[in-house]
């Protein structure tokens, strides 16, 4: 037992020495424990996380990927069982993130550079039936709304909103803008896109909540409805906008996508913390990579490797001391 332990210690010692020789003295004080990055169940997040992981590996850090639920992961981030979550969307994760940061055990490591666009969306073929689109005022026309209706909602149009948990104030928006629409909530985004796929196959009417970066806007031809542009006042001051008595008479805000992590990361792996903080990609870049994986059938690893070779100067900057 004792001998085995000494052997193992020797091994890790040797490994540490090698790492030291490879990556310079700066990392010598940093922990060689694995930094645990969480993986969720959508492609964009897998890509973001793998890019971060590969970059950190290049800097000599020990990386472990852990599959975790988007929201349940906060339990792990608070205790330090998990280290970093690379994509926390302002639009869907704000409450959980606030609750976690309030404990003082989780911190927001800053924006990823990507912005979540979310809005009402319709397939291109619906434009024939409702020619005024994408201007939102076209939806006020009853004929146009009826084109979006189903048996349950007729004569009102049917708008398929995101899961209740995403918020988004669509019920309020419909009321404030006096749109003849009924809001139906999908339970998950998988259900959301299943309905879109189904309608698209049949060229059937559909109006739904779509967000980007995502593969759907690349796969299906269509447009976002153009509502009055979001401003802070629209959500806080009833007098703003077309309806003087109501909030939410505008479109949805662009939301940051944040990086969050266990508060101990900073002290345990200061260099890695700096690199994570420096990490940025933008929407177009991410959109292209998601398309490559989800629609062209490439593997996440290949796409990430490609990005790594193309962007070497960029990520070298992140891990520079």
């Amino acid at each position: 037992m004792n001998r085995a332990r000494r052997f193992l210690l020797g091994c890790t010692g040797a490994a540490a020495l090698m790492a030291l020789a490879l990556s310079g003295a700066a990392q010598a004080q940093e922990s060689s424990d694995p930094i645990k990055l969480t993986l969720h169940d959508w492609t964009g997040q897998l890509i973001t996380t793998h890019i971060m992981g590969e970059v950190l590996k290049k800097a000599g850090y020990n990386i472990e990927y852990v599959q975790a639920d988007y929201l349940a992961q906060f339990a792990g981030l608070e205790t330090g069982d998990l280290s970093v979550a690379m994509e926390m969307w302002e639009t869907t994760g704000r409450d959980a993130m606030d609750a976690a940061t309030a404990t003082g055990k989780v911190e927001n490591i800053g924006p990823t550079g990507m912005k979540a666009k979310e809005e009402w969306w319709y397939p291109e073929y619906m434009k024939e039936k409702c020619p005024g689109l994408p201007n939102w005022e076209a939806l006020k026309d009853e004929k146009c709304a009826e084109a979006f209706s189903t048996a349950e909602t007729a004569p009102k149009g049917r708008y398929l909103g995101g899961p209740v948990t995403w918020g988004g104030f669509d019920d309020e928006r419909v009321e404030a803008l006096e749109l003849p629409f009924e809001v139906v909530h999908a339970g998950t985004d998988a259900a959301l896109f299943a309905e879109l796929e189904s309608a698209y196959q049949r060229k059937a009417p559909i109006m739904l909540w779509i967000y980007a970066p995502h593969w759907a806007p690349a796969k299906y031809k269509g447009e976002w409805v153009e509502f009055p542009e979001y401003t802070k006042e629209c959500y806080t001051d009833p007098a703003w906008g077309s309806n003087p008595d109501a909030l939410y008479d505008c479109g949805k805000p662009f939301g940051e996508i944040w990086k969050v992590g266990w508060v101990g990361v900073k002290d345990k792996w200061p260099g890695a913390y700096a690199a994570i903080k420096a990490f940025t990609v933008d929407n177009d870049e991410m959109g292209q990579m998601i398309t490559k994986v989800d629609l062209e059938g490439k593997s996440v690893d290949d796409v990430v490797a490609e990005w790594m070779t193309q962007n070497e100067p960029r990520w070298s900057e992140w891990i520079k001391k």
């Binding site: 639920d69 929201l71 349940a72 339970g187 189904s198």
Partner: protein
């Protein structure tokens, strides 16, 4: 005479109920809608309690969290061993800098060992079947994920079986323990996992161990229930025999009672394995990875084919494990000596062969990688076939399906939902109390009315009614289809085998896999949710009905035939009556299963308690989630107790007991 009085009693209470419902509004509005100001802030209490448990609770020497973390570390040991053996290989260090000391078992070795276990336990047929299931995993490129899942099941299922058996034995021996345990079992089975997921993650750490703990909590109760039932059903002659030949208490338990109850106990083992695999999806959300993760990720990108294949891989694992464990249990009951055989090889031919095989494949695997890991180029992909099939149905038959759906919605679902939604809470509580009193006396009346009142008092009446509506309709449909199917297939061996395969598939195929195509064909909404609940909860209705009928003593049937019963009379007068306890247990389980699907139906946009639990999870509000989860459990307990009391009365009246 009592009959007449009870009818008058029912009429009176119903009249009072209708009066309250129709004319109560102006007099007592509070009796119709529970006033918000009266709400008990239970969510806050629970949140605070949990905070205390996580941060401050202590046993003096160590804190509560330290205890649970210790348990997690203990469970971690066999899990890591299984995972190393099957998937990752034995590693030194963690993360990306880990060094592999020894490779995992090669795929050939695993398949061959599974085949050998099959051969040992059930002969060539089982060997081919079990090995075939594993070959399927390799061919369809699911090997690695499947081995991760297998590792966690290999740890969770034995804990569930042994734990369930021990609890069941204790409950059988001490009736008071039984009484205390039963509500706990109901809670374990019916509080949606999402409700206690967050506390579990805090207590046991984020990762596979927490997933195993959650799996055991969910999968163990049927084993305990079946153990109690099976032990009670052991014929008194057997017990007397045991006593006569002077068994000690321990011998009595392990040599007499448990072996004689073996057939029923095996149903419990089956259920534990099936339910463990059912948790694979949720387990994958909290770090278990494996096949569940593949299913989720595939459906997020609407790759139905990949989702179905990963789902079927779960089924293949489940069926193989189940059949092997059943055969092993049968085999263990037989006497087998080593007469005339000497030496290690002679005594343990299978073990020797397995060891040799592992050594050989590992050695070859070092030289030829294809022996170690199944080559990617050999895998088959289902491609887009499944997706195209759904598209074809969607494009060609959507209108027909829409018509069917609308018929169900407009004629059954919506009216029933409106009816339940409009009922006054006080009236329902009163009605439940009266039913409880008629069926089971004062204590039952108090129990059901207090539970129902608590649902209203925590401000969840409306959502609870939607839950009752959705589960009620689904359970009704499931029993209407399930019991006849069980009756028809019970005595036809070939048919039973087919039916068994179907219900095993329904129970283990993650509902997510068929939920998304269902959304494509039926849109988001209650109808889709109902389909998913029925598909899942029909399994116990069929299984227990068939089991009950198969268990009927053939001598009684002989006797019935000798008395000139027709087949119909045999069925209705003898078999069904004798099988009633099992069918009732089946109904109980159908309700429990239906309620446990609420978590999943929340994912297609229902507005019931399941959704409430889900919302609470996303808001990291443990108290709110647990309160909603408890409300689900209360509904289950009310239904269970009333049905059990009703069945008891029926049995007494029929002179069965």
């Amino acid at each position: 005479m009592t009959q007449g009085r009870s009818i008058i009693g029912w009429l009176l209470i119903l009249a009072a109920f209708v009066l309250l419902w129709r004319y109560g509004e102006p007099v007592a509005k509070w009796a119709l809608d529970y006033p918000k100001t009266w709400t008990i802030p239970a969510a806050k209490w629970i949140s605070n309690l949990l905070k205390w448990l996580l941060n401050d609770a202590t046993f003096g020497l160590f804190t509560f969290t330290q205890l649970t973390r210790f348990i997690a570390a203990v469970v971690e040991v066999p899990y890591q061993a299984a995972l190393s053996l099957l998937s990752t290989g034995f590693l030194s260090g963690r993360g990306s800098s880990a060094i592999q000391l020894a490779p995992p078992l090669s795929w050939i070795a695993v398949i061959a060992i599974v085949g050998m276990i099959g051969h040992y336990a059930g002969g060539a047929r089982l060997a081919i079947f079990a090995a075939g299931c594993f070959v399927f995993l390799a061919i369809f490129g699911q090997w690695n994920s499947a081995m991760v899942t297998l590792a966690s099941i290999l740890v969770a299922a034995p804990i569930g079986v042994v734990g369930g058996l021990l609890l069941g034995l204790a409950a059988y021996r001490w009736p008071r323990f039984d009484a205390a345990l039963r509500p706990l079992l109901d809670l374990m089975q019916t509080i949606p996992v999402f409700a206690y997921l967050v506390p579990i993650l805090f207590l046991f750490g984020f990762g596979p161990t927490a997933a195993i703990v959650a799996t055991v909590i969910y999968a163990m109760p049927p084993m305990t229930r079946i153990t109690v039932l099976a032990l009670r059903a052991v014929p008194s002659e057997v017990r007397d025999l045991g006593r006569m030949i002077g068994c000690t208490r321990r011998q009595m338990t392990w040599r007499v009672m448990v072996p004689s109850a073996r057939d029923s106990l095996m149903v419990g083992v089956n259920q534990v394995i099936m339910l463990s695999l059912n948790m694979v999806i949720i387990a994958s959300m909290i770090g278990a990875g494996g096949l569940g993760f593949d299913v989720l990720a595939a459906l997020r990108r609407l790759d139905i084919g990949a989702g179905v294949v990963a789902g079927l891989a779960i089924v293949a694992l489940a069926v193989a494990l189940d059949r092997l464990s059943q055969a092993m249990a049968l085999k263990m009951g037989e006497f087998h000596g080593h007469a005339g055989k000497t030496g290690f090889v002679g005594r343990y031919p299978y073990l020797t062969a397995a060891l040799v095989l592992v050594a050989v494949t590992t050695a070859i695997g070092l030289l030829i990688p294809a022996f170690q890991t199944y080559p990617k180029s050999w895998t088959v992909s289902s491609g887009t076939a499944f997706g195209q099939a759904v598209e074809w149905i969607n494009v060609n038959y959507f209108d027909t399906l829409e018509a069917i759906k609308n018929f169900f919605l407009l004629n059954i679902l919506v009216p029933f939902k409106r009816f339940l939604g409009g009922l006054p809470w006080l009236g329902v509580v009163g009605l439940l109390a009266y039913s409880g009193w008629r069926l089971g006396g004062l204590s039952l009346a108090i129990l059901v009315s207090v539970l129902a009142f608590l649902i209203a008092a925590t401000g969840q009446w409306e959502k609870a009614m939607i839950t009752v509506y959705l589960c009620g309709v689904s359970v009704l449909l499931a029993t209407l289809i399930g019991i006849p199917v069980g009756i028809v297939s019970a005595e036809r061996k070939q048919l039973w085998r087919v039916v068994q395969a179907i219900i095993d598939t329904l129970q283990t195929l993650p509902s997510f896999v068929y939920l998304m195509p269902a959304v494509m064909l039926f849109r988001v909404g209650d109808f889709t949710a109902m389909l998913a609940v029925v598909a899942y909860s029909i399994a116990p209705a069929i299984r227990y009905t068939a089991l009950g009928l198969q268990k009927v003593d053939p001598r009684l049937i002989e006797a019935g035939r000798a008395m000139g019963c027709t087949n119909w009379q045999l069925l209705t007068k003898i078999k069904l009556k004798l099988a009633l306890p099992d069918i009732m247990l089946g109904l109980n389980q159908t309700i429990m299963f239906a309620l446990s699907m609420l978590v999943i139906t929340a994912l297609v946009g229902t507005r019931d308690l399941g959704q409430e639990v889900y919302i609470a999870l996303t808001k990291a509000d443990t108290g709110r989630g647990l309160v909603a989860g408890l409300a689900v459990a209360f509904i289950a307990i009310i239904a269970d107790r009333l049905i059990a009391a009703g069945a008891q009365r029926t049995r007494t009246r029929l002179g069965l007991q």
